[in-house]
Assembly symmetry: C2
Homo-oligomer: 106 residues x 2
Amino acid sequence: MPLPRADAEEYASWFRALADATRIQIVSLLARRRAPMSVGEIVAASGVGQSTVSHHLKILAEVRFVLVERQGTSSLYRINENCVSCFPTAADVVMGNPVPSAPTCE
Amino acid sequence: MPLPRADAEEYASWFRALADATRIQIVSLLARRRAPMSVGEIVAASGVGQSTVSHHLKILAEVRFVLVERQGTSSLYRINENCVSCFPTAADVVMGNPVPSAPTCE
DNA sequence: TTCATTTATCGAATATCGTCGATTTACGAT
DNA sequence: ATCGTAAATCGACGATATTCGATAAATGAA
């Protein structure tokens, strides 16, 4: 009768991706410049360590919130507009709308 | 130039409230029955310990996602429709829309 | 007041998370 | 092949979070 645990976990993993201030700053950074950014640029703009940025980018990429493309020696990250628009809302949660699993939304 | 840290923290605290599977189950439970539920009912329906449920309800109440009302010896919790609708979307985040602070939205 | 019931809080164990410095890997240039 | 740069991974540490059992606080009934 309650929301199945698996669905709840799926929802939670979405929200967890945006549950950290540094990740939100990175996401908003990538969204303002519409152009892809290298890790180095993000490090410079965000003011946290390189390994930390890399770690957060990995988490964001796992839910397809950002997309990566290697260009030579650097990795270019950009926002995934598709994933932004299919990110579940609070209303989706309380209504029990079908959970868009991350890989599905692009 | 980047999103101010304070705004990022505010956003993050919103998403953190729904970043746990148990809390999502509780929220969806309260939303399905439109009527208020006692802690005991939520405990029975969710299958986790009483102190755990009480803890999660406190977190959800702090962001005004649920509302409490003591009725005799029991506490009745219900979903806060206002807070559901003003919960930030991913689009809000990437666009840097003004952050609705929890106490503001009812 | 005393008792029973319901909920909140406390204390502790465990797990997860965020961050950093150091190292490793990947890649291009020399 | 060697070097240099950029990014990913590793290992560790402290901070937070989740969960539980036990206890305390609140409330109504006897």
